[in-house]
Amino acid sequence: MPLSTSNSNIDYRKVPERPWMKIIIISFVLVLFLIIGWEFLARKMHHQPGGYLSGMDAMWAQERRKLDMPDNKIRVVLTGSSRMLWAADLNIMENKFGTRPLQLSLPGTSPALFVKDIVENTSFDGIILVGFTPFLFNWLTEGYFGTDALQRYHSESPAQWLSTKLHDPLAKNLGFVDEGFSLFELIDHYSVLPERKNSKILNQQGWKLGDTFDDRQTDMWTPVEQEGSFDNEQILNFWLPGLDLNNVKTPEEMAKMVEEAIAFFGPLVTTLQKRGGDMVFIRMPSSGLYLERDIKTNHRENLWLPIVNALNVPAINSMDFPELSTDLEIPEWSHLSKKSQDVWSNLITSFINDAYFQSRNKDINDVLKKTKVQEE
């Protein structure tokens, strides 16, 4: 009996009789020319090389793992939503603090779970800067992107790790590798068709807001910085559905949010302080309808102050200082332009130092410069 069924012949695949070498070579050359043309188009449309490294969750996980390294020298961690991501220039802050901050902010996500993770699962004893975005801060769960980020951090497969390592050199040299320049993103955002009632409007789903570089340094995308531009309008249209000023939180709802935030963050502040670290809360700047909503709900008095007072943490409300808010460019109401990012990063460090001293009666550098040698 052969190793076979009743049919002992294997049916090998036929190959079409075509001049395959010629086809492959010509196709390869044509594809190369097309890709070169596509790359030119990408750069003309402001999709620059280096502007989008591996996906958000992969980059977040990579940064988070730095805290697990035994001899890491991280003394400042930035947490919060996208406002902290777009507001912080890591080079300027490194210059001012004397140590490079670790950027762990995540768009559409409260810092809550990530602050909890740092306090409970690491030995970090430096300063956590907690970016406070009104209302988003109080969504004390994974938010829009937290689940994927945490999953990637906890269970990145070897294949995913390798793909990231291969992707990033391509992204650093090719503009079209930017996710915002993929074919179907372009089709969605540039199609203008009559829309059906109640259907998703594709070119109002947001698109590209920033470029993300090494260490998750994030800058506003140039076309969005121009108020009134197509790309700026797309971002504004994306915010609008969530900014119904006729449907805002009531004082009672905000009081409940205060209680929940205090119950959540209180123990974390205590634990971090016990091992020599601390938190500084920063209400991030906003403008336009976002600011209108915050004023209408009396956010400062109803949410911000009760929380920071109860937690007894050093706190800076950017909206209390024109140089940190109204003097700056916030082209789409929520995030700082590149130029204003530099200004804010330069100024905020002084405000942090002052707020810390006023609250703790000691120099923040005592915490920032503490090292294992000093501990021993």
């Binding site: 086809i23 992707h167 068709l193």
Partner: protein, 474 residues
């Protein structure tokens, strides 16, 4: 490791370099085996142990079965192989499902049974490789085949990376003999293999993920009751998506194997041009349908016993075929619907099959459309996350949507679905009685070049987010 990922590009390049370097055939096979284990471990390293268990048990069991003369002992040995493979499948795939249903059943008797906290990760491809190795033991037991001479060849058969995680489910008699002698692709085979890889990735990345997945998400992710048009468009989009995704995987797997010099069987033969459900199952996931036919339907008696028994066998085979796809009552319903449609078709053919009007081209075309519509009904249960969603969508598809039903699909998505599905069905209808190879053979060279260029370029600029293939979850 996904075919549509940069890590696979690097992996495959290294595999090719080793395969075409001047090494002995034994070393090349060893390289392929190690590469296959690395390929699988790239998802989750510990699960390679399951491959080892399957390999070791079935290798020994088949050899013992072959040497054993006593039928009772042969049967016991076969049961050992089946128990091991089905045990792996049962634990990882159906464990939680069985416990939840046990809890529900006990609840009906007033017993409060608490399901233990149990987070079982489903090993990728477990349904595929367990069926593949069971086929080996079964073929040896049924005396259709002798055991493989070489443990290396058998190990490679179990783990051969192109088809390891999502098929085609290959018979041992098809693949193991190919490992026995040196196999390297000729330039023609290698080129055609690359062409198939491009076609497969185009189907997955551009058609399934690019065009159709957002449409399916918009419809099946909606929490509202949908309109008639949106329900149908979303379901047809899913029909296109699951075909392009799964056939894309198979085509890529076949292309990769061909680049290495090996031939895998065709797994799809233009299924949306099927006329009737029995025709559909000769065109869709052919490796699974033939496996179920050879190892389940025929051993149950097939159509040899009685009419009633034939219908029972059909239904049982399709119900288990549905369950193979996943631990959910939705999949059982999907299988049950296919079984019902097969039974209805069998009855109808006997009754009216000889009518002259049914043999005309127009009738064939109409029956093809009817089959496609019926297949779409079944897809609702395959895709919907729960029975409530599937009921609502079915209800909308049959015209019972309220006046204020949701219309989540933007105009662009509607255009995309109509164009893509029309082109897909036209292509299937045009090629239903031929093969891809014959079609390409008859195309002008400039057209083949243009298509390869177009597909390659659109794959590159679509980029994709490295979405897993749908059938990885089975």
């Amino acid at each position: 490791m996904l075919f549509n990922s940069l890590s696979f590009v690097l992996f495959f390049t290294i595999v090719l370099l080793l395969h075409y370097s001047p090494l002995s055939w034994r070393i090349k096979k060893s390289n392929l085996l190690i590469a296959s284990y690395l390929f699988y471990a790239a998802w989750n390293p510990p699960f390679v142990i399951l491959l080892w268990i399957s390999t070791l048990v079935d290798w020994h069991v088949a050899n013992w079965i072959f040497k054993e003369q006593q039928q009772n002992k042969r049967r016991l040995l076969l049961l050992l192989s089946l128990a091991t493979n089905l045990g792996i499948l049962g634990y990882f795939k159906y464990g939680e499902f069985l416990l939840e249903n046990w809890q529900w059943l006990m609840g009906n008797f007033g017993i409060n049974y608490q399901v233990p906290e149990w987070s079982i990760i489903l090993p990728v491809g477990v349904s595929f490789y367990t069926f593949q190795t069971m086929a080996y033991s079964l073929d040896v037991y049924l005396k259709r085949a002798k055991p493989a001479k070489s443990f290396l060849d058998f190990s490679l058969f179990v783990t051969f990376f192109p088809q390891l995680v999502a098929g085609p489910i290959v018979r041992p008699t098809h693949l193991i003999p190919q490992f026995e002698t040196p196999h390297l692709a000729s330039l023609k085979q290698f080129s055609w293999g690359l062409g198939l890889v491009v076609l497969g990735l185009f189907q997955k990345i551009v058609i399934a993920d690019g065009f159709l997945s957002p449409v399916v998400e918009a419809v099946y992710g909606s929490k509202e009751v949908l309109s008639f048009s949106d329900a149908w468009l979303g379901t047809m989009a899913f029909a296109g998506q699951i075909f392009s995704d799964f056939a894309g995987y198979s085509t890529t797997a076949i292309g990769i194997s061909l680049c290495l010099g090996f031939s895998l069987p065709t797994n799809f033969r233009f299924p949306y041009a099927a006329i009737g459900f029995s025709d559909f199952w000769q065109r869709w996931h052919i490796s699974l349908s033939t496996w179920l036919r050879d190892y389940l339907y025929i051993p149950l008696g097939g159509n040899r016993i009685s009419n009633v028994r034939t219908y029972v066998n059909l239904m049982l085979t399709m119900l288990l075929g549905g369950l193979w796809h996943g631990a959910s009552w939705n999949f059982v319903i999907w299988g049950g619907l296919h079984g019902s449609f097969l039974a209805i078709e069998r009855f109808s053919r006997k009754r009216w099959g000889q009518l002259a009007i049914l043999k005309t081209s127009l009738a064939s075309f109409f029956l093809m459309l009817l089959t496609f519509a019926a297949v779409n009904i079944t897809w609702v249960f395959f895709r919907a996350k729960d029975f409530t969603t599937s009921s609502q969508i079915i209800s909308s598809m049959f015209g019972f949507a309220p006046d204020n039903a949701a219309t989540p699909l933007p105009t662009l998505y509607i255009i995309e679905v109509i164009v893509v599905i029309s082109l897909l069905m036209s292509a299937h209808w045009y090629m239903r009685s031929t093969t891809l190879e014959e079609t390409v053979n008859s195309m002008p060279v400039w057209l083949v070049t243009l298509l390869v260029t177009f597909m390659t370029f659109t794959i590159v600029i679509t980029q994709g987010t490295g979405n897993a293939f749908i059938y990885f979850q089975f």
